[in-house]
């Protein structure tokens, strides 16, 4: 395994190693849930062994067939999806997918399983059982999938979210980290972020997709069969960077809770914005559909940036956004 070591090589270049509340990653690059399947769907197109962590698609207690098609539509610089959490369900996941994840973990990346649910009990049972597997380094809680009615409630109500996080945390193996994935579809994301931290979240990931709609102007109907969907891709990157910076300053930094930033990362420059805003981990989602190797090319670009900046570690950049004072003037693009 020469490559993962090279990704954390401190002798020739800046270190990319990051620490997510005690979960050590060789580098910050991760897949965003739902864009990289269960493990090896992109075999041959992406060297998953070089990732810092792999995040599975959302797992629910029962199999879910998902929404009727049409499930996706491209919008300018983005994509709207209403997949409906289609997944094979907890039992099949444990039986069929864990061996692949074990193999993947042996090759380098840490394993994070995303869990979704429709009731508190379902979250607790599903997360607890998955977290009992020693290869699962962290659970990421999907409390913000905008496609399934009840999911939105947990992610938007601070009190409900706090209770949910507390109960899930209590049901999990102690050294398995709990990541709470925040929804941007709230008035004040620092409220829900704070609730997740109070409930016992080890890490915050942000952001999930923005609830949105595209309309077929001839049929005068939504272009997705589901009506609404979640907007992702480069179109939402400035929105996501803003929310990360808000949560970092007002919640995460004071509480010492790391953030996994995501939302439209396609180039390394995008990733640097998230780091400066306060993200420790970086997840690539929609861009994987265009090029499954995106996290690797982003990582290589990050390395170059750090060297140019004279940094010995990527941690030198995290949260270094300067606000106030002289704003650098750049030509309006």
């Amino acid at each position: 395994m020469t490559t993962p070591a090279a990704d954390n090589d401190t002798t020739t270049a800046a270190s990319l190693a990051v620490d997510l509340a005690g979960l050590k990653l060789a580098n910050p690059m991760m897949t965003a849930s739902g864009t990289c399947g269960y493990a090896y769907e992109y075999a041959g197109l992406a060297d998953l062994a070089r990732l810092g962590a792999f995040v599975t698609k959302s797992i629910t207690s029962q199999p879910r067939q998902g929404n009727e098609p049409q499930r996706i539509v491209e919008t300018r610089a983005g994509m709207l999806n209403a997949i409906g959490l289609a997944n094979i369900g907890l039992d099949a996941f444990m039986a069929e997918k864990l061996p692949d994840l074990r193999r993947l973990r042996d090759s380098g990346p840490r394993i994070i399983v995303n869990v979704a649910g429709h009731s508190l009990d379902e979250y607790v049972t599903t997360a607890g059982r998955i977290a009992s597997e020693d290869i699962v380094d962290a659970i990421e809680l999907n409390v913000s999938c905008p496609n399934v009615g009840d999911g939105l409630t947990f992610g938007t109500d601070p009190q409900l979210l706090k209770d949910l996080v507390r109960q899930v945390r209590g049901a999990m193996r102690k050294d398995c980290k709990l990541i709470v994935k925040l929804s941007p579809n709230v008035g004040d994301v620092t409220q829900t972020a704070g609730a997740a931290v109070e409930g016992g979240a080890d890490v915050l990931s942000m952001i999930n997709t923005y609830t949105a709609m595209a309309i077929d102007i001839n049929k005068k109907r939504p272009r997705l069969a589901n009506g609404t969907g979640g907007l992702s891709g480069p179109a939402i990157r400035p929105l996501a960077v803003y929310l990360v910076s808000m949560v970092y300053r007002h919640v995460a930094k004071p509480a010492g809770v790391p953030i996994v930033g995501m939302g439209g990362i396609q180039y390394w420059q995008d990733a640097v914005e998230f780091l400066l805003a306060g993200a420790t981990g970086l997840a690539v989602g929609t861009a994987l559909f265009v090029d499954p190797a995106t996290p690797i090319t982003v990582m290589d670009g990050l390395r170059g940036y750090l060297v140019k900046q004279g940094c010995s570690s990527i941690t030198d950049v995290i949260g270094q956004l300067q606000i106030g004072g002289d704003t650098p003037r750049t030509p309006y693009p």
């Binding site: 098609p69 996706i72 929609t286 090029d291």
Partner: protein, 345 residues
């Protein structure tokens, strides 16, 4: 029968998911074949994995990342050209460009002295295909493939009826090449709403028959010795009517022995394929369809391109009006080719 492609007993160099990769293709030519349709030939200097008719590729329908210096551009160093002012080349600031890849069926493939090439036929319907239309010789195109399963040539069959409507024609051209190598008999059924939307080349001096008789009128079939039946909805060329109007005449004229030997292969708009599949079913003729559904990745990850396929086990996803149980399958990785009788339309 199960999924086409996976049970192809005559395969030797069987394509599989482990062969797919990302390639930097080079445009050999990009010719307009009719209104809105172009045939794009892409050279693959490093070679290309084994492919079969029915498989597809995902084309990046915008300048490949390597074609512009993003590092320079995103750091806001602009190029000044005398008389033009600042030249903004940063893609996300240059107006809209296609973000996701677009899937295209292979319309042909060749491995000759100059290397490997593949053909795709595209119709300009938006920003991505608009970009494709502007491609010129030696331009670069970012491509992932080959993807999906393929049409199967079942043992015991030897007559192929290739029914392609509109943008469903391309895989039929590639299939015709393969059928010719396998020494099958074949007839092409070619349809469009109107004559100038037929993405085919016509044999000079041979006029498609107005009554739907088979003629050596379409170059893509005639060069392999195969005849064709041309239909247009408005009667501007060939038989006036739907593609099934030509197909039904042919099927009714077949001997029972020939019908036994026949497979209908079809690709086109869903309503057309549904009608073709029903017709083949009524005539007792085997039929394989090439399905399409909006997709992002093309590799089974995004779970977007679901189609309803008959499923008689207890983990079905629903029951159709006719009582058939179905389960969602992915057009990209379980398909795009399915046995027509399995499809729950």
């Amino acid at each position: 029968m199960i999924d086409a492609g996976t049970q192809d007993s005559e395969s030797n160099a069987t394509p599989g998911t482990h062969h797919r990769a990302r390639f930097d293709a080079v445009v050999r030519f990009n010719r307009q074949v009719c209104r809105e349709h172009y045939i794009l030939r892409l050279a693959l200097p490093g070679g290309f994995p084994a492919t079969r008719p029915g498989q597809f590729v995902q084309l990046g329908c915008r300048p490949p990342d390597g074609a512009i210096d993003l590092d320079r551009l995103l750091c806001r160093e602009h190029k000044w050209e005398s008389g033009r002012g600042v030249v903004i080349e940063q893609q996300e600031l240059c107006g809209s460009s296609a973000f996701l890849r677009r899937p295209f069926s292979l319309a042909g493939r060749g491995d000759d002295a100059s290397g490997t090439w593949i053909d795709v036929i595209h119709r300009v319907v938006g920003v991505g295909t608009g970009w494709l239309a502007g491609l010129k010789e030696d331009d670069k195109v970012d491509l992932i493939g080959p993807l999906g399963n393929w049409f199967s040539l079942p043992r015991g069959k030897s007559i192929g009826l290739l029914v392609g409507g509109g943008v469903g024609l391309p895989p039929m051209f590639y299939l015709a090449q393969t059928l010719a190598q396998a020494r099958w008999a074949a007839v092409g059924f070619v349809g469009a709403t109107t004559a100038d939307l037929l993405a085919v080349t016509f044999v000079e001096g041979v006029v498609p028959d107005q009554d739907g008789a088979v003629a050596q009128s379409v170059v893509q079939f005639a060069q392999l010795g195969y005849g064709a039946v041309v239909t247009t909805d408005d009667g501007s060329l060939g038989l006036r009517g739907r593609i099934t109007d030509g197909l039904v005449r042919y099927l009714q004229s077949q001997s029972p022995e020939d019908a036994q030997q026949t497979v209908v292969f079809t690709c086109g708009p869903e309503a057309m394929m549904h009608a073709v599949a029903d017709l083949a079913g009524r005539c007792g003729v085997a039929c394989q369809v090439c399905l399409e559904q909006a997709m992002a990745c093309g590799m089974g990850t995004c779970q977007s391109c679901v189609v309803r396929i008959g499923h008689d086990q207890d983990d079905s996803h629903g029951v159709a009006e006719d009582g058939r149980a179905w389960r969602y399958r992915l057009a990209c990785s379980d398909g795009p080719i399915f046995e027509a009788q399995q499809v729950v339309w």
